[in-house]
């Protein structure tokens, strides 16, 4: 296995108190407050386009991304705010992106669905369901090809498993993995629904992770609402991926408390009751209760975390609100690196 010059992340013992756990709780609370703020700003008309929030699913990305290294890379779909935050992207710049401002991570050109922060190993934010799976497999190949021990983590929803590119990506990753050339962790964020279609109604086989095994990719299910379980699994399999260069798949069973997108108001596909039931398994509450037991975290501690998160989010909203919109000529930059439009069509 190639030599590493990178920082390493220690695995944590789920049974014992460790400072990382409180850190993860803080992050999860922050993500929750951040997402609530984005929904609020969408209602106010400050955020345009599609807005998909991560409320209810925080445990999944938190448990896994905290187990990755700085130079590992992450790909995600459009439900991508938490992933960017966890990779260390400045929340100000994320919020500014959602507001369509020049100070946004993608200069205001991408919006909610296309967050991007290469400096922090976050390779986006994609809007076509399943479209990024092949990209991630290629990225993993590149990492090994270049002789590094970096790995790639690719997130996608249960619904994405039904599109052709999923199967093509899995088979290629499995094939390359046979040669130790595809260090990738596929994470199925199984929140029970693809928009308004439940897993039972969209997948012939509802035990999703078994579908991955058909491509010679090992995998397991994990309780996505229990960040201890997620982090535990992540610690274990990430090391193994790094070691072997073979892909692995985690199916994190989770639930989204909000609508599919901010415009999914009526939610005719599920009852309020169903949502209420799942709120009992709020990943933040589960973690908080656990930390009360093992670390003696108090309500006051949590209140403080909440307050801090609220302040930080308010600052991000303020930053976004006060940032200027992109200059008009930004329209024409970043289209291609070298071969611009034909002169006759050019602005200047």
């Amino acid at each position: 296995m190639p030599e590493t010059k990178e920082n390493s992340v220690s695995t944590i013992d789920p049974a014992a108190c460790a400072p990382e756990w409180t850190e993860i709780l803080k992050r999860m609370i922050f993500i929750r407050r951040f997402e609530e703020a984005t929904e609020r700003e969408f209602r106010r008309g400050k955020i345009g386009g599609y807005l998909h929030v991560y409320i209810g699913q925080e445990g999944v990305a938190s448990g896994i991304i905290t187990a990755t290294r700085d130079r590992d890379v992450v790909f995600s779909g459009y439900r991508d705010h938490a992933h960017a935050i966890l990779r260390g992207t400045d929340p100000n710049r994320i919020m500014a992106e959602l507001f369509g401002k020049a100070s946004g991570v993608s200069k205001g050109k991408g919006g909610s669905m296309h967050l991007f922060d290469v400096e922090h190993g976050f390779y986006g934010g994609y809007g076509i369901v399943g479209g990024h799976l092949t990209l991630a497999a290629g990225a993993a190949y590149a990492l090994r090809y270049q002789g590094t021990d970096r790995i790639c983590v690719c997130y996608f929803g249960d619904g994405a498993m039904n599109i052709g590119s999923f199967h093509e990506a899995m088979n290629m990753a499995g094939l390359w993995g046979n040669q130790g050339l595809c260090p990738i962790l596929f994470v199925i964020e199984n929140n029970g629904y693809a928009m308004g279609t439940s897993v039972e109604r969209h997948s012939a086989l509802t035990d999703l992770v078994t579908r991955v095994r058909a491509y010679n990719i090992p995998g397991e299910k994990v309780d996505g609402q229990d960040v201890f379980a997620v982090r535990g699994a992540a610690d274990r399999v990430i090391g193994q991926i790094r070691e072997t260069g073979k892909p692995y798949c985690l199916e994190a069973v989770t639930y989204r408390f909000s609508g599919h997108g901010a415009a999914d108001i009526l939610q005719p596909y599920r009852s309020k009751d169903e949502v209420e039931q799942h709120r009992h398994r709020d990943p933040i509450i589960i973690l908080r209760n656990r930390l009360r037991e093992i670390c003696g975290v108090t309500d006051e501690d949590v209140r403080k975390m909440d307050e801090e998160a609220n302040e930080r989010v308010a600052a991000a909203v303020k930053f976004a609100e006060e940032s200027p919109v992109p200059g008009g000529t930004e329209l024409f930059t970043d289209v291609v690196a070298e071969h611009g439009p034909r002169q006759i069509n050019q602005t200047e």
Partner: protein
């Protein structure tokens, strides 16, 4: 306090209507309880209270449609006092929000009907952080430079019309971009040419009443390509004497007959014509015989103008200006006179429009009224020549070995040597003599 706003509940929603309030101001509300019903173009929905408290400050009534994000009311927490109304809160903000407010106003012109007008918002985007160049402007026209001395630009329709009407396209002044000849130009050109036969009818009928007009064959306009020799001569002449190589020819005319003809006309017609009117007409007719005098020098050729537009130098308090009598060869002496006087009047009142002082093909400067016997004038580019008209003087002359007193007038012609050679200029002055000394020619 929690604000109740018009929430955006659809990706394309920009405004919503308050259908009805379930609660009145002052009523207690519970978190999650519906406060009001709203309507979007897709659905009707209830907006719920976000906290326990009392509904207050309901500012938007049922039936009203407001933009997304607008505050509709607020919910006060138990024990909380209503803030001194939204107005007070908005007041100090006023000066700093003027910019967005301006945008809001502009946007109000964007009717939110099904066509989704965003013109106001678009203008705002341009003003706010616009493009360096206005994208509504024409794309740059010249991607590939046309070869020098290349063909004149013209639209396909203009070419077809020119072909059908037998109009020489090279003679038509193009009014489109880069001088492109467009249909209108051909029409105008043709109109001028046609004015002859077509207008001849009314004029003919007027002949009896005002027999001051003769009809002429159409002039041919064309571009004469420069021969190598012509080019060289032009260049050398220009080098020696400045951009326009001038030379001067002076002729002395006997205008006795002209003056008596004028007197008769004035008496018969009961009008006032001036000598200058006769000169303009005479020059216009003479130009018909000498297209090279009614011409312009250009790098790609000498343009022979298909029309005769005579500029008349008029002095005004501000200086010299030359109003133009268009198609002077098609106009009667009386028409010329009327027009010159109207134009001169306008010139002195500084009311001339550009099209009234631009586009001459030949110019006349007359200092006779100042008693100037003889002078030279500077060519008015792009004309190829100018006439300097001196005063009419009674002078003794020898006619058939007898001394007689005749009315004489000296005319000096300044010529652009690149276009007009000495002999050509002399020929022109000779033709002019026929018209000035035998004035009946002016009307036959």
């Amino acid at each position: 306090m929690a604000e109740v706003i018009m929430p955006k509940v659809g990706d394309a929603m920009t405004e919503g209507k308050v259908v009805r309030w379930y609660k009145k101001a002052g009523e207690a509300v519970k978190k999650g309880e519906p406060l009001l019903e709203i309507e979007t173009d897709k659905v009707n929905l209830d907006v719920e209270a976000e906290q326990d408290g009392t509904l207050a400050a309901v500012t938007v009534e049922a039936g009203q449609t407001v933009p997304v994000g607008n505050v509709l009311a607020s919910v006060l927490a138990p024990g909380e006092k209503a803030p001194p109304a939204a107005k007070a809160a908005a007041a100090p903000k006023k000066p700093e929000v003027s910019e967005p407010e301006k945008g809001q106003q502009r946007r109000r012109t964007d009717k939110k009907d099904s066509i989704k007008h965003t013109t106001g918002e678009y203008q705002e985007a341009i003003e706010q952080q616009g493009l360096r160049k206005d994208r509504t402007a024409a794309p740059s026209a010249n991607v590939v430079a046309l070869p020098e001395g290349g063909r004149r630009r013209s639209s396909p329709l203009a070419r077809r019309m020119a072909r059908d009407l037998g109009v020489p396209l090279e003679a038509v002044q193009g009014s489109g971009p880069q001088g492109r000849v467009i249909a209108k130009d051909v029409q105008n050109f043709r109109g001028a040419a046609e004015a002859q036969p077509a207008a001849a009818a009314p004029r003919a009928s007027r002949v009896s009443a005002a027999p001051l007009m003769s009809t002429l064959p159409a002039l041919e306009a064309k571009l004469v390509p420069l021969s190598a020799m012509r080019r060289t001569i032009a260049k050398r002449l220009a080098e020696s004497t400045g951009p326009i190589p001038h030379f001067y020819l002076t002729a002395d005319y006997d205008v006795t007959n002209l003056l008596s003809f004028r007197e008769q006309v004035n008496a018969i017609e009961g009008i006032k014509t001036s000598v200058n009117d006769y000169i303009v007409r005479a020059v216009a007719l003479a130009l018909h015989h000498h297209p090279y005098v009614n011409a312009s020098w250009g790098d790609d050729g000498i343009s022979l103008h298909g029309e005769v537009h005579i500029g008349i130098a008029v002095s005004t308090p501000e200086g010299l200006i030359t109003p133009v009598v268009r198609n002077a060869d098609q106009k009667s002496i009386r028409e010329i006179g009327d027009e010159v006087r109207a134009l001169a009047e306008k010139a002195r009142n500084r009311k001339l429009l550009p099209n009234e002082y631009q586009g001459s093909t030949f110019t006349i400067s007359n200092l006779g009224a100042w008693g100037i016997e003889e002078f030279t004038a500077i060519i008015n580019p792009p004309n190829a020549a100018i006439l300097a008209i001196g005063a009419v003087e009674s002078r003794p002359v020898v006619i058939e070995r007898q001394v007689a007193v005749r009315e004489r007038m000296k005319i000096t012609m300044s010529c652009d040597h690149r276009v007009v050679d000495g002999a050509a200029g002399a020929e022109f002055l000779k033709t002019l003599r026929q018209y000035l000394e035998q004035p009946l020619r002016l009307i036959v």
